[in-house]
């Protein structure tokens, strides 16, 4: 297995103005703050977290659509820059994005086959005939039969539109797909169709994917590894089964327990976190989760825990596991 994507202490800070009484104050919004992860070829990394935790910014950074404040992204060993030059354009052929809102991401004045073959046109690949044939073959294999090819986006259903977006992303045969909430806008019965399709495509074409979602159930379904984000940090990374059966970080525990299960019904025990996530503008020193954490200690207010490797598959950023995992035992008893 080769490492396709390496993200190294990547940060994105925005300078914003916040109202303060009668005046405004300049502040730094740390959307993404020093995250690192690797993605192997053909694998899926799920990125899960609540709104405003920096998932979408991460996606844009990985694809070089916005400039990083710190750190770098290596794709096949080559740095991904946000400068839109020839290298950037060449990289587009290997990395593509799938959007949350397929109707918004498609041009409503253009029939869908034209949009699927547009990447070939932009990158000057093939002649008119071969482009059309490629698009037709691909759309056929994506569950978009011939009668749909010359329709306009608003004439398709939500699931079909997402198939079009997916086809457009795949026609250049990329090795990495970045999917930003690809099924959130779809109805549940359609979500399953798209998830299955995505999994089939990945398997058939060997595409790796960075799968971003707020929906833990979906992330668990598709991922080989899951990274949990909170306020611009990765607080835990683990294979999905381990994460869901035995979450380590107190935030992961709360997040996992907040997902209602179909089969446990009213027996399910919920661990309720108090309050809202603090604003990413007013972060104190120490752990980002300190003021909602039931196990916060004095060290958590002073020192920011770093993402530490517990075993080859699991990483966690929490002082409870820093020296000796199971220190003071506290967080482990929540779920049995």
């Amino acid at each position: 297995m080769t490492t396709l994507l390496q993200v190294q202490t990547l940060s994105k800070h925005f300078q914003v103005r916040v109202p303060e009484g009668w005046r405004q104050r300049k502040a730094t919004l740390r959307a993404v703050d020093g995250i690192s992860f690797d993605l192997q070829a053909g694998q899926t990394l799920g990125l899960v977290g609540e709104s405003g935790c920096g998932k979408t910014t991460t996606a844009r950074l990985v694809l070089g659509l916005t400039a990083a404040t710190q750190g770098q992204v290596l794709f096949n060993g080559q740095p991904v820059e946000s400068q839109r030059d020839a290298t950037w354009r060449a990289q587009r052929q290997n990395m593509q994005m799938v959007y949350q809102n397929p109707l918004g991401a498609l041009d409503r004045r253009l029939n869908v086959i034209s949009q699927v073959l547009e990447p070939l046109l932009i990158h000057g690949l093939g002649d008119a005939l071969s482009r059309t044939e490629q698009a037709q073959d691909l759309m056929d294999s994506m569950g978009l039969p011939k009668p749909l090819w010359y329709r306009y986006p608003h004439e398709l259903s939500g699931g079909q539109r997402q198939r079009v977006v997916l086809s457009r992303a795949l026609i250049l045969k990329p090795s990495l797909l970045v999917c930003d909430e690809p099924v959130s806008a779809l109805d549940v019965s359609i979500q399953a169709q798209v998830i299955n399709l995505l999994q089939d495509v990945q398997e058939r074409l060997g595409v790796a994917s960075l799968f971003i979602s707020h929906d833990l159930k979906v992330v668990r379904q598709v991922s080989d590894q899951v990274a949990v984000m909170y306020l611009g940090h990765i607080v835990e990374q683990a294979p999905p089964n381990q994460l869901f059966s035995e979450p380590l970080h107190p935030y992961s525990q709360a997040l996992v327990s907040s997902v209602p299960s179909l089969w446990q019904g009213q027996n399910q025990k919920r661990q309720i976190l108090q309050g809202d996530p603090p604003s990413p503008l007013s972060l104190q020193s120490g752990c980002v989760f300190q003021n909602r954490c039931p196990h916060a200690q004095s060290i958590c207010r002073q020192v920011k825990p770093s993402l530490t490797r517990l075993n080859p598959e699991r990483h966690v950023a929490c002082h409870l596991f820093a020296e000796n995992p199971r220190l003071s035992g506290a967080p482990m008893e929540v779920r049995s």
Binding site: D187, I195, L262, Q266, D276
Partner: protein, 333 residues
């Protein structure tokens, strides 16, 4: 163990609080008229929590907006509605306003836009308090602060003067709940109350909803597209598809022996955190558009078990077990 909501639900014949009979709703007129509800029957028992589940456009929200006369002049609503035995269909706006908020309260999906942006939240709460309790001035304010405490808003006195845009989504939803509690209603309709919220906030709000329901002994209808939320909160479920009820059952029955192929599909197409990872079994095809329904059962084109009758007629809800009705020819006698 199933949590039983109130003593009433233990008795053999639960007391009916609200009943809707033959509810039909259509929008527009003439050739562009589209019918979105096709004769829905629905009972809500005193103190129970009923879940209504279905995909977008299935009519689950429209049901209650129509019953409470909140759809506006563009909609044609027909049906026979009773509240504690008294008819309330076809009432004037003035007469309905005595039911809204006081007997049946409603909260909505997006709390940020459901609160008026130009009024302070305290003002909006006091408006409800004075309307339903006839309180004025300091007394109304005190009662409003009490309501804020009841929904666990920290520093209620300070939040009183805040505007909705200054508060988080979870906080605004708490205020919506406080406002709904102002009239001490018998029934609370919660229309996708957590859809716009994050997972950890969703857990907070669901917890709060069960708490206030228990404290007040009121009934609740929880409308959601997420079966697992309903599984957690409700003792009875109605599954809706394309403007009709597909299945009505006690929650336990539904999850143990789902009768309608659509319900079965819904249960198996949602990934679950508690069971091992496996390939999802998707329901093929897509939800038909309102106004373009097939002639027979609306689910027939997507159904794996379709038989001849399904194409010809619309199946009625039919009891298959105590507390369990299914609208499907396969289970009909």
């Amino acid at each position: 163990m199933t949590e039983l909501a109130t003593p009433q639900s233990q008795s053999t014949a639960p007391q009916i609080l609200v009943s809707l009979r033959g509810l039909t709703v259509s929008f527009g007129s003439g050739p562009t008229q589209v019918q979105v509800l096709h004769g829905l029957d629905l009972d809500v028992h005193v103190g129970e929590s009923l879940g209504m589940v279905g995909e977008s456009g299935c009519g689950k929200s429209v049901t209650w907006l129509a019953a409470l006369g909140l759809l506006g002049a563009q909609a044609q609503v027909r049906g026979e509605f009773r509240l504690a035995g008294d008819r309330f269909d076809g009432l004037s706006d003035k007469a309905l306003s005595l039911i809204r908020g006081r007997r049946i309260a409603m909260i909505f999906q997006d709390p940020a836009s459901a609160l008026n942006p130009v009024h302070r939240i305290g003002q909006q709460l006091v408006e409800a308090v004075s309307l339903h309790k006839g309180l004025r001035g300091q007394a109304a304010r005190a009662q409003a602060v009490r309501l804020l405490d009841q929904v666990h808003i920290p520093n209620a006195g300070q939040r009183f003067d805040a505007y909705p845009h200054e508060l988080s989504g979870g906080m605004n939803q708490r205020i919506m709940i406080a406002m709904a509690l102002a009239g001490e209603p018998d029934l609370l309709i919660a229309d996708e109350p957590t859809t716009a919220l994050d997972a950890t906030i969703q857990a907070q709000i669901l917890d709060l909803l069960s708490e206030v329901r228990r404290d007040q002994g009121m009934a609740m209808v929880l409308i959601s597209h997420d079966l697992s939320v309903i599984a957690q909160e409700c003792s009875r479920v109605m599954v809706m598809y394309a403007g009709r009820a597909a299945e009505v059952a006690a929650t336990d029955n539904l999850f143990r022996t789902a009768g309608h192929p659509y319900t079965q599909g819904l249960l198996s197409c949602v990934p679950d955190v508690a069971s091992p990872q496996k390939r999802l079994s998707a329901i093929p095809g897509q939800v038909p558009e309102a106004g373009r329904l097939p002639q027979g059962c609306s689910f027939e084109p997507r159904c794996a078990h379709s038989i001849v009758q399904c194409k010809a007629r619309v199946p009625m809800l039919w009891p298959v077990a105590p507390d369990h009705q299914v609208a499907c020819f396969l289970t009909a006698p």
